[in-house]
């Protein structure tokens, strides 16, 4: 086993063993500590995966996926399932983001366990299992394995929402589970549509179409795209998201928005577009129109929202719309915009949900009517909220800018009346995004303190700052130096588009 293969196994094994260890440690606080240490240890191999030489050597025509490291073991030959992991520039930033957010969430839980009845120990264990599922999804280079990890996330996330969520958590959790299961069963059918036609489930071999007939590709892309659209979520399949976000505990929302949604967009790029490129070209206009509809609808709904977490949840619909627009253009610029948009949204929305959770914990309400004047009583919290909101609306120099701007640029460059119209509408949506975030800030931070806000003290706990500061720094770093993400993604994206075109 080479060094790279060891890292790949370690990235998955450390959180999995950590979850087991957490389950066996009897004392609650000690167990949470063990879980946090495991999450921290998992970050190490995740980062190390990206360090080193990334040149790709090989003979013959270059494939569409050129993993830096890979591990390929047989598992269930009867189902064409191989334990095939690999990492490249498309997946690595997401892997690091996942490991980082899980660590921050575990650390946050060390400080405060959300009310709701469940023990903190179980919550940390579930967070680690969710991490295994998400990391596995990003690392899988076998379609069946991808599906398997895609499914692993479902029930632990359900349990997190149902066990530690708000008042209406059971309904929200059930809605989440059923909607996303609907997505994953379509994924299953889509995966085996491809496997039955191609005789292999290896993503490296399949990327580029691999001789699949046009009809197979259309059917497979339709199934896969709907499956990923539910997860992303793409309007009009998004209705599970606001309910789940509003009811989920803070850490649940952070993971959900930060990385879980990315499984959908990542899958769209790696699996759906990669394996069925002809289907992707065929469906691109539909995807583009739906993406722009998501941007506009998401922004308009946000303008009318009066609940803090619900507003941020709906803003995710709009932001993921930009990501999907980038994918739909099927250009280098568009895919790169999608990738950096993914990362930026993960960082910023993770931060926003942390802050919204902090506001709700202190004021005991999330209703915008009952919140105002936060900067009078808690200036630092209000400042951070302002920073996150401004980053999210896409101010140049912060992380949110690149994904949205370049998705629009990609659509313009694609040319033609349809794509130009879509670009214009998306830009209007971007302006609306600014409008609702500024409205949010005006309502929450400005004005005279409401009775609920009056009780809020100015202090921030050290644990909170520890969880937030890395995200603030990353939002700045990705905004100022986008090559942090794009530098790794350029090669893989061009390789992918080479075989897809």
């Amino acid at each position: 086993m080479t060094y790279g293969q060891f890292l790949l196994v370690a990235v998955l094994a450390v959180p999995a063993l950590g979850a087991l260890a957490v389950a066996t440690v009897p004392r609650d606080r000690a167990a949470r500590l063990v879980g946090t240490v495991a999450a921290g240890l998992a970050l190490v191999p995740a980062v190390l995966l990206g360090v080193g030489d990334h040149n790709w050597f090989g003979y013959g025509p270059s494939p569409g996926v050129r993993p830096w490291h890979q591990l390929d073991l047989p598992w269930v030959p009867g189902l064409d399932l191989r334990f095939h992991l690999g990492v490249d520039g498309i997946s690595w930033p997401l892997v690091v983001l996942t490991a980082l957010l899980t660590l921050l969430c575990c650390g946050y839980t060390l400080w405060r366990v959300p009310a709701g009845g469940g023990s903190g120990r179980a919550l940390v264990a579930l967070l680690l299992v969710v991490e295994v599922g998400i990391l596995g999804t990003f690392l899988a280079l076998d379609m069946v394995l991808f599906f398997l990890f895609f499914e692993v996330v479902l029930l632990p996330m359900y349990a997190i929402i149902a066990g530690w969520g708000g008042a209406d958590r059971r309904r929200a959790a059930r809605k989440f589970a059923l909607y996303t299961l609907f997505g994953s069963v379509l994924l299953l059918v889509g995966v085996y549509t491809v496997v039955a036609a191609a005789g292999t489930a290896d993503i490296v071999a399949l990327t580029g179409g691999a001789g699949l007939s046009r009809n197979t590709q259309l059917a497979a892309f339709t199934l896969l795209a709907v499956a990923f659209a539910v997860k992303s979520p793409l309007w009009p399949l998004h209705s599970w998201l606001p309910a789940a976000h509003t009811q989920a505990p803070t850490v649940g929302s952070v993971i959900l928005a930060g990385v879980l949604l990315k499984m959908g967009t990542y899958g769209l790029i790696r699996v759906a577009v990669g394996v069925a490129p002809e289907g992707a070209r065929w469906a691109a206009p539909v995807l583009g129109v739906l993406a722009v509809a998501a941007i506009i609808v998401g922004s308009l709904v946000c303008l009318a929202q009066d609940e803090l977490k619900r507003l941020i949840a709906y803003s995710s619909v709009g932001h993921m719309g930009f990501v999907l627009l980038g994918v739909a253009t099927l250009t280098t610029t568009g895919l790169q915009a999608a990738l950096i948009g993914n990362i930026a949204h993960g960082i910023i929305t993770g931060l926003l949900f942390f802050l919204a959770g902090a506001v709700k914990d202190r004021a005991h309400t999330g209703a915008l009517d009952e919140l105002s004047g936060l900067r009078e009583t808690a200036p630092r919290l209000a400042g951070l909220l302002g920073f996150a909101a401004v980053a999210s609306l896409g101010l140049p120099g912060l992380a949110g800018f690149w994904g949205e701007a370049f998705a629009v640029v990609a659509a313009v460059r694609r040319g033609g009346p349809l794509w130009t119209t879509l670009a214009v509408l998306a830009a209007v949506g971007g302006a609306l995004t600014a409008a609702y975030f500024l409205r949010l800030l005006r309502r929450v931070t400005h004005g005279r303190p409401s009775p609920a806000v009056d009780r809020v003290g100015p202090g921030l706990a050290a644990a909170e700052l520890t969880a937030w500061v890395p995200l603030v720094l990353l939002a700045l770093a990705v905004g100022l130096v986008p090559t942090l993400v794009l530098g790794y993604a350029t090669g893989p994206v061009e390789a992918l588009l080479e075989v897809v075109r």
Binding site: V76, G78, L181, V185, L188
Partner: protein, 491 residues
């Protein structure tokens, strides 16, 4: 032709052992008259049967009771697998019966004897090579159950369940027999292999209306045994009225019996052009109706009963691929049968674990009760609750219940290989509906207990806990190494 047949006794070893178990149990009960000894005798017999079947299956295929090339007894790999599964199921059901037998009025000797008889039917069923042996074996499997269902003395529900089951089952058997008789009238053969060959050689036989009627009668009669919709109405009432371990046996072993019989006739005897569409329709109806009705159930065993109706639909689904020409290539057919067998094996394992967990969580000798009776059960008993949830999640086909996930994957894969994408989509959508009620049951286990609070039941008997632990461990094992089951099923 010689009148004297040579009989291959090695091939018959599993059947001897199973039947011997029944006699042995009767003797032990007569001589020792102690509950523990009787149950132990039955358990030893079941283990011996499993071992015997495994030994016979390890060698090459053996045939006996042959007339020319047609044999009534085919001890092949599939037969060995079926016999081993039946014997192990019987062992598991015996283990979870222990609190019931210890607690009270159930006559131990009769109970164990009947269970062993039923096991004998199951063991013979797997090896049956002609329609008559098949039907007799299936009846041997079912007949003792009429009595076992009614064994809860003084319970009207139990008696009602027994009568319902008896009447429906006898009608179903009659239909199958009539179908077999008509098939004989058309073809002059009753051996499965001979029927298959005849239909292959003389396709004009298929145009005779009588053939269609005969095939339909055989398939529909067997569909009763599997509790496929629209022949399912007996199942929920019977399961709910029966003692819990018997309900477990009904929903695992008895259902498996129906599946094995159906597979045998569809695979070897009957023309796929006729059976394919019928089975596809049955599968769609069965899983959809089973899942939709299960959504509304408030009683634990009824919920499990309806869910097992739906699961029968998933088992039948791969055979539905035979309805299409693409599904009738040799490769696709073999994949479809293997998928059905594999799903059945995964299913009985998870179902047995689920029932064992219900038995553990309920007071000794009680019925399944309502869902509310299980509120907060996992908070009192985290390990049992976890095992129960794992079984339920497996039945829903999701991780961490990997065994169930791979079962669903196997079915979907075989359907897509057979070109029946629409049926795969139906299976997929049904999996979503199924999750809704499995999740409700699993979430109830962790819900806050009601104010009055169900009394904490006594510690479960060791035998039940052991059965639950073994079933769960096996489910986890085949979850990580599903190839074990797939290999066995494909042989």
């Amino acid at each position: 032709m010689s009148v004297v047949q040579s009989v291959d006794n090695v091939a018959l070893l599993p059947a001897y052992l199973a039947a011997g178990t029944a006699v042995f149990v009767l003797l032990v009960d007569l001589v020792l008259a102690r509950a523990g000894a009787t149950v132990a005798a039955a358990g030893v017999g079941a283990v011996a049967t499993a071992a015997g079947a495994a030994l016979t299956g390890a060698g090459e295929t053996r045939r006996t009771f042959c007339v020319g090339a047609d044999c009534s007894w085919l001890a092949d790999d599939r037969a060995a697998l079926v016999a081993v599964v039946f014997a192990l199921l019987t062992l598991g059901v015996l283990a979870i019966s222990w609190p019931l037998l210890r607690s009270g009025p159930t006559p131990v000797g009769e109970y164990c004897f009947l269970l062993a008889c039923s096991m004998t039917g199951g063991v013979v069923l797997g090896a049956a090579g002609d329609l008559i042996t098949l039907i007799v074996a299936l009846e041997t499997l079912t007949l003792p159950l009429y009595v076992l269902v009614g064994l809860r003395r003084g319970s009207v529900a139990s008696a009602e369940a027994a009568v319902t089951f008896f009447v429906v089952s006898v009608v179903a058997t009659t239909l199958t027999l009539l179908g077999a008789a008509l098939l004989y009238a058309v073809t002059g053969g009753v051996h499965l292999g001979r029927l298959g060959a005849l239909f292959g050689e003389r396709p004009e036989l298929l145009d005779v209306p009588l053939t269609t009627a005969a095939v339909a009668l055989v398939v529909l009669g067997l569909a009763f045994k599997v509790a496929a919709v629209p022949f399912h109405a007996w199942a929920p009432a019977t399961y709910d009225g029966a003692p819990l371990p018997v309900a477990a046996y009904l929903s695992t072993a008895s259902k498996l019996g129906g599946v094995v019989a159906l597979l045998a006739v569809v695979e070897r005897a009957l023309p796929a052009t006729v059976t394919g569409p019928v089975l596809a329709l049955l599968a769609v109806l069965t899983m959809t109706v089973g899942n939709l009705v299960a959504l509304r159930q408030r009683r634990t065993v009824r919920l499990l009963a309806w869910s097992s109706v739906a699961q029968a639909g998933y088992i039948l689904a791969p055979l539905g691929a035979l309805a299409l020409a693409a599904g009738r290539t040799d490769e696709a057919r073999a994949a479809a049968y293997a998928a059905a067998v594999a799903y059945a094996v995964f299913f009985v394992l998870l179902e047995l674990a689920a029932f064992a967990a219900v038995v553990t969580l309920r007071p000794a000798g009680a019925d399944g009760g309502t869902l509310d009776d299980l509120r907060g059960a996992a908070r009192r008993r985290p390990w049992v609750g976890g095992a129960f949830a794992l079984a339920l999640v497996g039945l829903a086909g999701l991780p961490p219940g990997l065994a169930g996930l791979f079962a669903k994957v196997t079915v979907v894969r075989s359907l897509l290989d057979g070109g029946a994408g629409w049926l795969a989509l139906v299976v997929a959508v049904n999996a979503v509906i199924g999750l809704a009620y499995y999740l409700r049951l699993a979430a109830t286990l962790w819900a806050a207990p009601t104010a009055d609070g169900a009394p904490a039941p006594a510690r479960p008997a060791g035998a039940v806990a052991a059965a639950l632990a073994v079933a769960t461990a096996l489910a986890v094992l085949v979850g990580f190494a599903p190839q074990l089951v797939l290999d066995l099923a494909a042989r």
